[in-house]
């Protein structure tokens, strides 16, 4: 059996916030150099609905801009893991730009597909009224996550 299949697989869900960076640093620091782990760093970017854009050109520009920023961020996070002692082929990245009603649902779907044993997320520390009006991705993952551990890094 391939050694990758024996590893415990952590899914680190990130965005461009400081909290995501803290989550990455925490896991890298905690597990760097320890054998038996691999990580996938995931960035889900919800694509606005088609009616948000006035033209296909606008939409393409929006996607390219977000893709380029996110790729740079994911590369940087990947380097943090490698520098902390993870072997290169045990650190993967996924950028998923998609129409999604809920980022939490998308993360959970990917966790199921990749069979990750743990989801790691940063908590943005949003106010109660923000959570009331807009919802919270970390809270929803904690509520709906099944068959996996969930680490919320503050």
């Amino acid at each position: 059996m391939n050694s990758l299949n024996k590893d415990r697989h952590l899914l680190i869900a990130v965005d461009n916030s400081e909290n995501a960076e803290r989550a990455v640093s925490y896991v890298a620091d905690f597990l760097g150099g320890v054998s038996g782990f691999r990580v996938t760093i995931l960035n889900v970017i919800p694509e606005p609905p088609p009616d948000y854009f006035q033209s296909d050109k606008d939409r393409t520009a929006w996607i390219e801009e977000h893709k380029s920023e996110a790729t740079r961020m994911l590369d940087r996070f990947r380097q943090i893991f490698i520098q902390s002692g993870f072997v290169k082929d045990k650190v993967k990245t996924i950028l998923d730009i998609r129409h999604c009603p809920s980022v939490a649902d998308s993360i959970l779907e990917i966790q199921q597909r990749l069979e990750c044993c743990t989801i790691v997320i940063g908590r943005r520390g949003i106010s109660k009224k923000e959570e009331f009006l807009f919802g919270s991705t970390s809270s929803k993952i904690m509520r709906l996550g099944r068959n996996c551990a969930i680490w919320v890094i503050e």
């Binding site: 009616d51 948000y52 109660k128 923000e130 009331f132 009006l133 919802g135 929803k140």
Partner: protein, 321 residues
């Protein structure tokens, strides 16, 4: 259709005195500012006689005239319509001290009009492309009062209103929440739920949601803002209007002194939602629902199903009492 035929139709449905001497026929709405009173707008070979801007504030986010929303007479049957033309705008909406990015979406409204065709609790209409492909919405005009105005006329005082009118008002509210659930189940949000976006139709007595062209980039909970709107309306209906801190300070100082921050609306901090402190005959079950929208709330409604389940319970209790 030639000019004389159109003039005959105008004379028939609007009266001879309304026939313009020179008729301008428009089939492209891209420049809606150039469409004037007395013009005829041709949409898919169907003539509409353009009247005033929509000025009642029903089809807009404020009371200013909306130049892209016009009343019009359907010259085939004389029915009054609302014609909504394409106006792209993006802006940051402010709710309390929170802001989020909004945009006006003719596509969204067109999709919802299709979904809710025949539904008794939504405005009715259809969309049609003009000569330049703009999505124009043709909406049946609803005669009647807004829910906001209607409620204020019920009962001689709050207690009279609550015992004699509120149970049927609550029945109507449940229908309206069910209508929003119908949208949510089809992955659509209303987007601008406010008490003046509900019209009580004069002829039928039905309450209808209006205005679905508001869209925004939602965050984790796609329906959170709609639920907030439903909570505000419930508080308004229960209180027979907004009950504000300022009013209480002015007219009920002893009640004012019993209030604390947790009793207030989570977003609009001058509105009281713990209404049982003001009106002790409000049942606890109803107050419990209202407190989900308060500063002191620790759990919120995520879905219309959850809200409806609690409201149904309140309704049953009110019926039994």
């Amino acid at each position: 259709m030639n000019e004389n035929e159109l003039k005959d139709m105008i004379a028939h449905w609007a009266g001879h005195d309304k026939v313009p001497k020179k008729l301008k026929v428009v089939n492209d709405t891209s420049d809606f500012f150039g469409i004037d009173y007395d013009d005829v707008l041709m949409l898919d070979n169907h003539p509409y006689f353009i009247r005033n801007y929509e000025r009642e504030g029903r089809f807009s986010i404020d009371e200013q005239p909306k130049f892209w929303v016009r009343r019009a007479l359907d010259l085939s049957d004389g029915d009054l319509k609302i014609i909504k033309m394409v106006f792209h705008e993006r802006f940051n909406a402010r709710v309390g001290d929170l802001t989020f990015e909004c945009f006006r979406s003719p596509q969204k409204e067109a999709v919802i009009l299709d979904i809710v065709r025949g539904h008794p609790n939504f405005m009715q209409g259809f969309c049609v492309n003009d000569a330049s492909g703009n999505i124009v919405r043709v909406i049946d005009y609803i005669r009647g009062k807004t829910l906001a105005d209607y409620i204020l006329e019920l009962g001689k005082d709050h207690e009279d209103y609550f015992y004699n009118h509120f149970p049927s008002v609550l029945d109507n509210y449940v229908d309206l929440v069910n209508a929003i659930r119908f949208l949510h189940e089809r992955d659509q949000k209303h987007g601008d739920i406010r008490r003046d976006h509900i019209i009580k139709q004069k002829e039928t007595g039905l309450y209808r949601w209006i205005d679905f062209d508001f869209n925004y980039l939602h965050k984790e909970n796609m329906f959170g803002y709609d639920l907030f709107g439903l909570g505000n309306i419930l508080a308004y209906l229960t209180g027979r209007g907004d009950v504000t801190v300022e009013q209480l300070k002015e007219s009920a100082l002893s009640v004012f002194h019993q209030l604390n921050t947790d009793d207030l609306n989570i977003i609009f901090n001058n509105r009281v939602v713990n209404l049982r402190k003001i009106y002790p005959y409000i049942p606890e079950a109803l107050n419990f629902v209202l407190l989900h929208f308060s500063v002191g709330a620790n759990i919120f409604y995520d879905t219309t199903h959850e809200l409806l389940a609690d409201i149904e319970e309140v309704r049953d209790k009110l019926r039994r009492s």
